[in-house]
């Protein structure tokens, strides 16, 4: 192994808060060698971001570090460096990329100016050389039209482009260490794959060390050499990536893997980790995972296990501290086998040629100068009790489809037929159909009114639909719903801000269930949640479907969740459905080149370092869709005819696909 560029020893970072000192990072040690990637994995609140910020010294001044804590960059101890000296290190020796590319760039300067500014601060290059170097950097991060990009302002760039620019800025000082804090979480899978391969390429060229912070085990499998799993401020498992994915040893790591949804777990409930992360203000004396661990015994409660080497990996668990024969362990409870039986199968909802166009207005009299064709001719049908997944990149119109089905966005043309009743053009009759169709939103923090109690939130639909006459009956229903979605009864009088993200999503589900719908549209209900919480919500959705025979339209870009939940999958690209069929079939043998690219972009936990074959380029603007097949500019199999006209439907083995590859001329 080459010499380490970053050595963190016994890092303790305590943050003062109104309730007391938060032990956000508690005795964390690791090293990163040149050209190596260490992935710091953990759920939100595990302290991974605080660790990264401690290294870059980006925390508030009132933070306390442990006495014997050391962060050695080469042989400089960053914790003992004054801020003036630290400024020289940040940007020059440590580059940082943040999660949100939208807010990391200054909107009033061009991209070129922002890169040149960093170069001016950290290099001695001449003005002309700086300009040249900035273009080189942008080229290195895979931006095609470098000259144009230099002139652009951040708002003119897409999310993926912005993140590339952020990487270019972080690389400007040619750092030895790059800290990437969830660099691809806000991006689509296709763009994520592109950004990850750019990072890998640059790392090889410059032989930097990368500290990658992520909660996505797939991304870790793809790019990391070393993995450190954090839980409640401590590293609980530290191992080479291949070893970790082959044989995770800590019970927490094991259960994280078990809670990941996938195609072959379809008939089981996902494993859920009960309980929640302990308070970091007053952490338990023993193992911090003990309260949630299925193997825990009395020692775990009282004595904090040390990181112990077991061959190639280090584990913080009493199971591995002494000769503890693993056969004595209690066997994990059998997972419930669920066979999905759809008894009745009548068409619940059918959508014909739905279009939603948003006019672009300009000028004093607000003339219509163009149309954004967000949804451009979508046909769908949903059977009672089944789950239809709508998959696609952000901006492809899947959320607009959801909203126009519920008439939250008026449809421009087309028909939405629910049980033989036309919904799009009968505004007055619509209200009574509202109770049949419900929606769950992505962001659990925006979907609940912060000024209403949980009772009021859940009872809102009951009142609006005049379903229950008396207050008492209404309260009974609210309590029953709370129980159904797995929330404690005391929740009824509390307010949304007192709940965690997963609990809020449960409240949102209870609100939708209150009016006893037949069908729920789930708009990325788990994408804002941690893996273990995602498992809980996915399980809940699956259970509710079993109990109540609900039909779901499940909108997601998370292929793993889709493969676990969906019966049928429809792939959307730029306002149209390009492929549709049974879930197992579409996911196993994708026909459309876009679906193929999309599935290949998804990093897989079991996949190891696979060679990424991501979809090239980015989603074109729905205001100016490409001529012919919308996917033709990005398609690896493009033919002359693709650029001329949009391909018609073709049906192969029950799989609908719109591509000229499958049409015999």
């Amino acid at each position: 192994m080459t010499e380490p560029i970053l050595t963190v020893k016994h890092l303790r970072t305590y943050l003062p808060s109104a309730q007391g000192l938060v032990r956000a990072v508690d005795d964390v040690s690791f090293t990163i060698a040149r050209g190596q990637t260490l992935a710091l994995v953990g759920e939100s609140g595990s302290g991974k971001t605080i660790t990264a910020h401690s290294i870059a010294q980006l925390l508030q001044e009132d933070v306390c570090y442990g006495e014997n804590s050391q962060i050695l960059l080469g042989d400089i101890d960053l914790l003992r460096l004054p801020e003036v000296a630290m400024r020289q290190i940040r940007g020059r020796r440590i580059g940082v990329i943040f999660q949100e590319p939208m807010t990391s760039l200054n909107p009033v300067f061009t991209v070129g100016e922002q890169i040149i500014e960093v170069l001016r601060l950290h290099t001695t290059l001449s003005r002309r050389a700086r300009n040249h170097r900035a273009m080189e950097l942008l080229h290195a991060v895979g931006i095609a039209d470098v000259k144009q990009c230099m002139q652009d302002y951040p708002h003119q760039l897409s999310g993926g482009m912005k993140q590339r620019v952020m990487i270019a800025i972080a690389l400007a000082g040619e750092p030895d260490l790059l800290i990437a804090d969830e660099p691809t979480t806000a991006l689509d899978v296709t763009i994520q794959a592109q950004v990850l391969s750019v990072l890998q390429k640059i790392q090889q060229e410059l032989s930097m060390g990368i500290l990658l912070i992520t909660h996505d085990l797939g991304v870790v499998a793809q790019v990391a050499d070393q993995v450190a799993v954090m839980y409640a401020g401590q590293i609980i498992e530290y191992a080479p990536s291949t070893v970790f994915f082959a044989n995770a040893q800590h019970p927490y790591s094991q259960r994280l893997f078990e809670s990941l949804p996938s195609l072959n777990k379809r008939n089981y409930l996902l494993d859920m980790i009960p309980g929640h992360v302990p308070s970091l203000i007053d952490p338990p004396p023993g193992c911090r995972f003990a309260a949630r661990c299925r193997y825990a015994w009395d020692v775990c409660e009282t004595q904090l296990p040390a990181l112990t080497s077991t061959g190639a990996q280090q584990v913080r668990c009493h199971l591995y501290t002494k000769e503890q024969p693993l056969t004595h362990l209690p066997v994990s409870e059998k997972q419930v086998v669920m066979e999905k039986v759809i008894t009745e199968s009548h068409t619940l909802l059918s959508v014909q040629d739905l279009t939603v166009h948003f006019p672009i207005r300009r000028g004093l009299f607000k003339r219509v100068v163009g149309l954004v064709k967000a949804v451009d001719g979508v046909d769908l049908s949903v059977q009672a009790g089944e789950t239809l997944a709508l998959v696609g990149e952000s901006g492809c119109g899947k959320t607009t489809v959801a909203k126009s089905l519920l008439n939250l966005v008026p449809a421009t043309s087309g028909k939405v037929v629910y049980l033989d009743q036309e919904l799009t053009h009968h505004k007055q009759d619509l209200r009574k159909f509202r109770s049949h169709l419900q929606i769950i939103f992505q962001d659990p923090f925006a979907s609940l009114d912060p000024r209403m109690s949980v009772t009021d939130i859940i009872a809102e639909g009951l009142l609006a639909q005049r379903l229950v006459a008396s207050d008492k009956a209404r309260l009974e229903i609210v309590n029953r719903l709370l129980q159904q979605v797995g929330l404690p009864l005391g929740s009824a009088v509390r307010y949304p801000h007192q709940f965690s993200g997963g609990q809020r999503q449960r409240i949102a589900i209870a609100r939708a269930l209150a009016v006893s719908p037949q069908m729920i549209i789930c708009d990325e209900p788990t994408s804002a949640l941690d893996v273990s919480v995602q498992a809980q919500i996915v399980n809940l959705l699956k259970n509710l479907q079993q109990e109540l025979g609900l039909a779901y339209i499940f909108i997601s870009h998370n292929i793993a969740v889709v493969s676990y939940l969906a019966d049928r999958v429809a792939v959307m690209y730029l306002g149209r459905i390009v492929e549709e069929g049974r879930a197992q079939q579409v996911l196993a043998t994708p026909k459309h080149p876009y679906t193929q690219g999309l599935l290949q972009s998804v990093p897989e936990v079991g996949g190891g370092h696979k060679i990424l074959a991501p979809v090239q380029g980015e989603l074109p603007s729905p205001a100016h869709p490409p001529k012919g097949c919308h996917f033709s500019p990005r398609c690896p199999h493009v033919m002359p005819i693709c650029r001329q006209s949009y391909p018609p439907k073709a049906v192969i083995d029950g799989q609908m696909v719109k591509c000229y590859l499958y049409i015999e001329s």
Binding site: L406, D449, A464, R511
Partner: protein, 468 residues
């Protein structure tokens, strides 16, 4: 037959209705109030003490709004009772004879002699000398040092302070506990040992006693001295400042009352429904706000003045006339100043209507009116509150500016604006007469500060994310 005739002026009527509706609201909602989030205000020390200070200001404004005309001693031959043309308030009655006791000209605070030397004829020769003041001379024994005398008076005020404290606290505690002995016991325990998240009864007690002490002391001192000196025509500045409180409170509250419905209605309608409604409302307030505000107000006030002069017979007394002008000024200020709040509310509503919880409500089939009432209004509340309080202080100041260009309240009416306006010349003369400005400043400062602090705690209390 009562020896006076009650005279309810326009602003009095509106003010009483406002107070009464607040009272009724509290009375009928007292059960729900226990859990209402805004009661958190009283669990905050700053909130509690600023509320007490504001309450005292409101009390003074209330006392000054109880107007009447005293009976005259002369009678017509047909035995009909005659009432004075001069309208007085209960506050005047309490403070008398401050309103009629005039010096010849300026006198410094706590002075016993006139501020400037005045000419006398002594044995046929003009001698310049400091004259003893009429009012203080009546009450102060000559040749006592001022400080000793002040401390005497303050000590004399203590029994009254004690009495008032005892009486008011007994009444308040009875109202709070409704006479239940267990609750009284609990209350006293909480005063001695405040609960960490309970109502700040101790803070309430301290502020209450301090304010009562301040009021009685000032009252006793005003019996003997001109606390804040006198102005050019020899009128007591302390009396003027106390009387100005009502004008300030009236302009602050009534203008908001006029402005609020416009801003709220137009803002939410424009933001929620968009389209044509939005266009019409936007063009209206754009047009209105593109006319300079002062010009619009000045024009309206001047038209009003001409109108009032033409119908002089409508007003029974000068006070009624001045009051009608104050009322009209509030309406005019309200009608010209709703645009900025309306714009804020529209923008916030535009943001709120796109939020998922509003979409969820639409998906549940909740009617638009209910969505506005249940989701939009409560989430606008903090903006409204902050704007109201910022406007409150702004309006008190606007009144000063308007008085300066002669379109404010009636010159015969005491107001902070009129006081500040006349201080312009007094500051320019040598030696400087600083006390009218200082008095106006202190009274206004305390009022605006208390209102700001109060609004701050109300906003925090209404924010459920901070409630914990």
């Amino acid at each position: 037959m009562m020896p006076f005739k009650i005279d309810i002026l326009w602003t009095d009527a509106v003010f009483f209705v406002l107070l009464a509706s607040i009272f009724i609201l509290i009375f009928f909602q007292r059960k729900q109030m226990k859990h209402a989030r805004w009661t958190q205000v009283f669990k905050n020390k700053v909130g509690m003490s600023s509320a007490v200070v504001l309450f005292f200001y409101l009390c003074i404004a209330f006392l000054d709004s109880l107007h009447f005309r005293p009976e005259l001693s002369q009678r017509l031959p047909n035995q009909e009772t005659l009432y004075a043309t001069q309208v007085e308030s209960v506050l005047d009655l309490i403070l008398s004879p401050l309103d009629v006791q005039m010096e010849t000209t300026y006198a410094a605070p706590f002075a016993t002699t006139s501020f400037a030397e005045e000419p006398h004829l002594v044995q046929g020769q003009v001698v310049y000398d400091f004259e003893p003041l009429r009012y203080t001379a009546e009450h102060i024994p000559p040749d006592t040092p001022t400080l000793t005398e002040i401390s005497h008076i303050m000590r004399a005020a203590l029994p009254l302070t004690g009495l008032l404290t005892a009486v008011t606290l007994v009444v308040i505690f009875f109202l709070v506990t409704l006479g239940s002995p267990t609750r009284i016991k609990a209350l006293f325990i909480r005063i001695i040992r405040p609960a960490p998240r309970g109502v700040c009864w101790r803070t309430f007690m301290i502020t209450w006693v301090l304010m009562l002490f301040l009021c009685t002391t000032l009252y006793y001192l005003s019996r003997h001295y001109h606390i804040f000196g006198t102005d050019k025509i020899g009128q007591d500045v302390f009396y003027q400042a106390v009387k100005s409180i009502r004008t300030g409170v009236m302009i602050g509250t009534l203008t908001t009352l006029v402005m609020l419905p416009f801003a709220l209605l137009m803002g939410t309608l424009a933001g929620y429904f968009r389209g044509v409604i939005d266009d019409v409302i936007q063009y209206t307030y754009m047009t209105l706000s593109s006319i300079p505000g002062i010009l619009l107000i000045a024009a309206s006030v001047l038209i009003l003045e001409v109108f009032m002069n033409q119908h002089a017979q409508w007003f029974a007394s000068t006070a009624a006339r001045a009051d009608a002008r104050l009322f009209a000024l509030c309406v005019i200020l309200g009608l010209t100043s709703w645009t900025s709040l309306c714009r804020l509310i529209r923008a916030e509503t535009l943001k709120l209507r796109e939020l998922d919880y509003v979409l969820a409500a639409q998906a549940l089939g909740v009617r638009n009116l209910m969505i506005i009432l249940k989701h939009i209004f409560p989430n606008l509340l903090h903006i409204i509150l902050i704007t109201i309080v910022l406007d409150f202080s702004g309006l008190v100041l606007a009144e000063a500016v308007l008085s300066y260009i002669g379109v404010g309240v009636d010159p015969s009416m005491q107001s902070f604006g009129n006081m500040i306006n006349s201080a312009r010349l007094e500051l320019a003369r040598e030696p400087t007469v600083w006390w009218p400005l200082a008095a106006a400043f202190i009274f206004m400062f305390v009022l605006v500060l208390a209102a700001n602090l109060f609004a701050d705690t109300v906003r925090d209390a209404l924010d459920p994310r901070k409630a914990g």
